[in-house]
């Protein structure tokens, strides 16, 4: 634990503020109060016991009164935990309902636009096609945002779909590159991929790992300007897998780099180059990699490119 994290942990008032709870509903604060009362009770009991050693009934009554106070505080603590659990459940339920309710009109809109642009309802002029393209791009943006929100919500409530199996990194990466082939060709991007021939398979979450690599690959594609190159490398380093994706894209400004894995953060470059994205992709990557006991990081130089990497422990079945 680093120094900053340590101070965050012991700052009870800060924690309560972050949870948006009043002090008397905040578990950390109640826990502290309970701790203090237990210590004081022990001292008080000792004092009373010592002072009224000849009156055991009075001592027993006082201990009983103290126990009752402790019981009441314990009750408040339990209630505040219940409230937190309920809030987490409601949040997940809320996001699920909202995303479903957003997806429904969005599907109507997407399919109606597809029908219009297919020419099935009559010819469309070039100028109209331009505007239909804008509509389609924005529908896709909203679709991606809803999809990422659902993933974040499921990740935070430990409900994200999981598929633990033996995974061959090279196969998984080649499959993903194939999925992106039309976009890569249209954007004039060359992807090279290298890995040692004897790379072993590993037991990991295939679904979530694919999500990480997909997000990183998508980022590299989105932040390349004009003709570009993406180099992917996988190798075994000790008892870990090492994955690296390098591009010669727009890079990340130095002052933005510390925020890059934060939820909804989008670099200044995004505005400059009008690159689409939800601001959730790297947050999702970091959450998943850390959940799979790995580490993630990057190096980037503005206007030169970025290199994102992650490691995962190698588990043999």
């Amino acid at each position: 634990m680093n120094k900053k994290k340590f101070f965050e942990e012991i700052n009870i008032f800060g924690q309560c503020r972050r949870l948006n709870l009043s002090l008397w509903q905040c578990p950390s604060f109640l826990f502290l109060i309970m701790g203090l009362i237990i210590i004081l009770s022990a001292l008080f009991t000792y004092f009373i016991g010592n002072r009224y050693i000849n009156d055991p009934l009075l001592v027993a009554l006082l201990v009983l009164a103290l126990s009752t106070i402790l019981l009441v505080i314990a009750f408040f603590i339990t209630q505040s935990f219940e409230k937190l659990a309920e809030a987490a459940r409601l949040k997940t339920e809320f996001i699920n309902i909202v995303s479903h309710q957003l997806n429904t009109p969005l599907s109507n809109l997407r399919w109606a636009t597809e029908l219009l642009t297919s020419g099935r309802l009559g010819p469309i002029e070039n100028k109209q096609i331009e505007y239909f393209k804008i509509i389609k791009e924005n529908i896709d943006r909203m679709k991606d945002l809803i999809s990422d929100l659902i993933i974040v919500s499921k990740l935070e409530s430990n409900n994200l779909f999981s598929e633990i199996k033996e995974v061959s990194f090279p196969n998984l990466i080649q499959q993903l590159i194939k999925e992106f082939e039309p976009l890569l060709q249209a954007s004039n991007i060359v992807v090279s991929f290298s890995s040692p021939k004897d790379l072993p398979k590993t037991l990991t979450d295939a679904f979530q790992l694919k999500l990480v690599i997909k997000n990183l690959l998508e980022n590299s594609i989105n932040y390349l300007r004009g003709k570009g190159e993406i180099n992917i490398l996988v190798e075994k380093k000790g008892e870990n897998f090492y994955f690296e994706i390098k591009d010669n894209g727009v890079g990340i400004p130095k002052k933005d780099q510390k925020y890059i894995f934060k939820k909804f953060f989008r670099s200044e470059n995004v505005l400059k180059y009008q690159t689409q994205g939800t601001g959730l992709g790297l947050y999702i990557c970091k959450s998943i990699v850390e959940k799979l006991n790995g580490t993630i990081g990057f190096e980037s130089v503005e206007n030169k490119g970025s290199k994102f990497w992650f490691t995962l422990p190698l588990f043999r079945s």
Binding site: T104, N108, W111, S118
Partner: protein, 122 residues
């Protein structure tokens, strides 16, 4: 005789889009805006295929599936579930109840849905 497709879906905008595209492809579309009338139309019109949403008024899609699959006259009609519910529990439940295919609306283009319909009718 054109093949009949029953579309059980409470979104009238989606009904309109599918009516247009299915008609152009040479199919006849019958529409139901809730689960109850969907079951009734399935039993009386005997469609060749049913497209079924899951969140429906009066009777939800799972109940419709169960009802149609227990009836001798409708149990062999292929049913494509077309929904925005993407939870694994919902997918497994629908497949267990007898759905032929499960499509999450947000993941498919209109053309891809049309291809799935054609395949199911082959």
């Amino acid at each position: 005789m054109p093949k009949k497709i029953l579309f059980i879906e409470d979104e009238s905008a989606l009904q309109k889009t599918f009516d247009e595209i299915l008609r152009q492809e040479g199919y006849e579309m019958i529409s139901a805006l809730d689960g109850e009338s969907g079951v009734l139309l399935a039993k009386t019109k005997k469609p060749d295929l049913i497209l079924l949403d899951l969140i429906l008024p009066k009777m939800n899609g799972f109940e419709v599936l169960a009802e149609l699959k227990k009836d001798e006259e409708t149990k062999s009609i292929p049913i494509i579930v077309l929904t925005n519910l993407e939870g694994l529990i919902d997918i497994n439940k629908a497949i267990e109840l007898g759905a032929t295919t499960y499509l999450v609306k947000s993941q498919y283009s209109l053309k891809e849905v049309l291809d799935k319909i054609k395949t199911a009718l082959e």
